[in-house]
């Protein structure tokens, strides 16, 4: 049985427990897409207009520097890529590249915004889910800022 946007969304962790009608609403703004290993999903500095819900494969969030490409996070099935559309200046802050064959649901966020304003009951829940995800990423970032691997065993002895 081939995947459809609705089927993939219905099984996606991001939409777990969402109110009835959410899958159909988001599916109306979305399409299936796929990327070969090495192919970019998004590029730093370009306008941010898509939310990617990863279905298969892993995506690396990357930043380029003189030493080469540094992967700052990897995102896999059930997770999402691309949040820069949620706040000004609405441009991607990092690159995202497929590390292996990747399939996603690509959501057009302009259309999504319009639909969420039309259905505020769903809009609130989607925004709450996004906020929760941002909090998770903030906590993970805080843990990394702590440089955990330098802790715990650095007591002189």
């Amino acid at each position: 049985m081939s995947d459809t946007v609705e089927r993939v969304l219905a099984a996606h962790r991001f939409l777990d427990g969402m109110p009835e009608g959410t899958v159909e609403l988001i599916a109306g703004c979305a399409q299936l897409d796929s990327f070969e290993p090495g192919q970019r999903l998004l590029a730093e500095g370009e306008p941010a207009g898509t939310l990617f819900l990863v279905h298969h494969g892993r995506v690396g969030i990357e930043v380029h520097q003189s030493e080469g490409i540094i992967t700052i996070e990897t995102v896999g099935p059930g997770q999402i890529v691309g949040l820069s559309w949620a706040s000004p200046p609405f441009r991607w802050q990092f690159d995202a590249r497929a590390l292996e064959p990747v399939s996603v649901v690509a959501v057009d966020v302009d259309r999504l915004r319009t639909e969420l304003r039309r259905r505020p009951d769903i809009g609130v829940v989607v925004l709450e889910r996004l906020a929760s995800l941002l909090v998770d990423r903030l906590q993970e970032t805080r843990l990394r800022v702590l440089d955990l691997h330098a802790l715990g065993d650095d007591r002189p002895r």
């Binding site: 992967t71 996070e73 843990l143 715990g152």
Partner: protein
């Protein structure tokens, strides 16, 4: 026969430079009377003569030779002396002390999740070796998550590969993915929801920085693991190793005697938070 406070002489018969500032020493007793048996998760007190003594988790035994292995991170005078001790030299050893992970008491069936941060993999290494055998015998799956700061800091790479080749689910995640690294990037907690383990009845063993263990335990509870089945390995200023000096006290526990392995639920959950205040 000496008392528990007197170190036995052990010869350094092997010295392996691991990643970064970590060295693994293989030790062999110089005398016949010394015991080479230990439980996974126990620790020894190692003496660099003329410098001092330090508590170190047992990182395993080298094959069936009866050698004891300790991985030492160079973070101070004693550990520096141990890291630079040449093969053939003699160090002091007291132990083993404390309890262990108790994996020999695990019933057949439940999955076991092992989460280690950095050198926290050392006290888990020999336990994982047995858990991999347990899995191969169809007695329960093991899932290993090892975190490191960067790819060049991944400890026991050969063991991780061997466990993976043996069929166990092994995930190595790093905080920063340097060029060429295509594995997961993120703290260990980020990969836990993707592990295909059955949380009901599962056991978890974790060792690493206390903050990491706190967040790992919370993430495991969120995944459905019962807090009492999450075991953490605590480290304190262990000096006597037998619970008489009190330096290792943590709340009601004398970690060297009552630990270092304690359940998260009902014990470590409160202690780990309170100690941080």
């Amino acid at each position: 026969m000496h008392g528990p406070l007197t170190p036995e002489p052990y010869r350094v018969v092997g010295r392996r430079e691991e990643v970064g500032d970590v060295v693994t020493l293989s030790l062999e007793p110089c005398t016949d009377g010394a015991s080479g048996t230990y439980a996974h998760g126990q620790f020894n007190m190692l003496t660099a003569f003329g410098v001092g003594e330090v508590a170190l988790s047992i990182a395993g035994s080298a094959g069936t030779s009866g050698l004891i292995e300790h991985s030492v991170r160079d973070v101070g005078a004693v550990t520096h002396a141990l890291c630079t001790v040449p093969a053939g030299a003699v160090v002091g050893l007291r132990g083993p002390f404390g309890n262990g992970w108790g994996i020999e008491r695990l019933p057949d069936g439940p999955d076991v999740v092992v989460v280690a941060g950095g050198i926290g993999l050392a006290p888990l290494r020999s336990a994982v070796g047995d858990l991999v055998v347990r899995e191969r015998e169809g007695r329960g799956r093991v899932f290993v998550v090892a975190g490191a700061r960067s790819p060049d800091q991944v400890l026991y790479g050969d063991d991780l590969d061997a466990w993976r080749l043996s069929g166990s689910d092994v995930v190595v995640t790093v905080d920063v993915g340097t060029p060429g690294w295509e594995g997961p990037v993120g703290v260990v907690t980020t990969v836990l929801p993707d592990l295909a383990f059955e949380p009901g009845g599962a056991w978890a063993l974790t060792c690493g920085p206390e903050i990491m263990m706190r967040f790992v335990a919370r993430a495991l509870v969120e995944c459905g693991v019962e807090p009492a089945r999450i075991l953490v390995s605590l480290e304190r200023n262990m000096q006597c190793g037998i619970g008489i000096c009190g330096h290792c006290q943590l709340g009601p526990l004398l970690v060297c005697r009552d630990g270092p392995v304690v359940p998260y639920g009902g014990v470590a959950d409160r202690l780990l938070v309170e100690r941080g205040r």
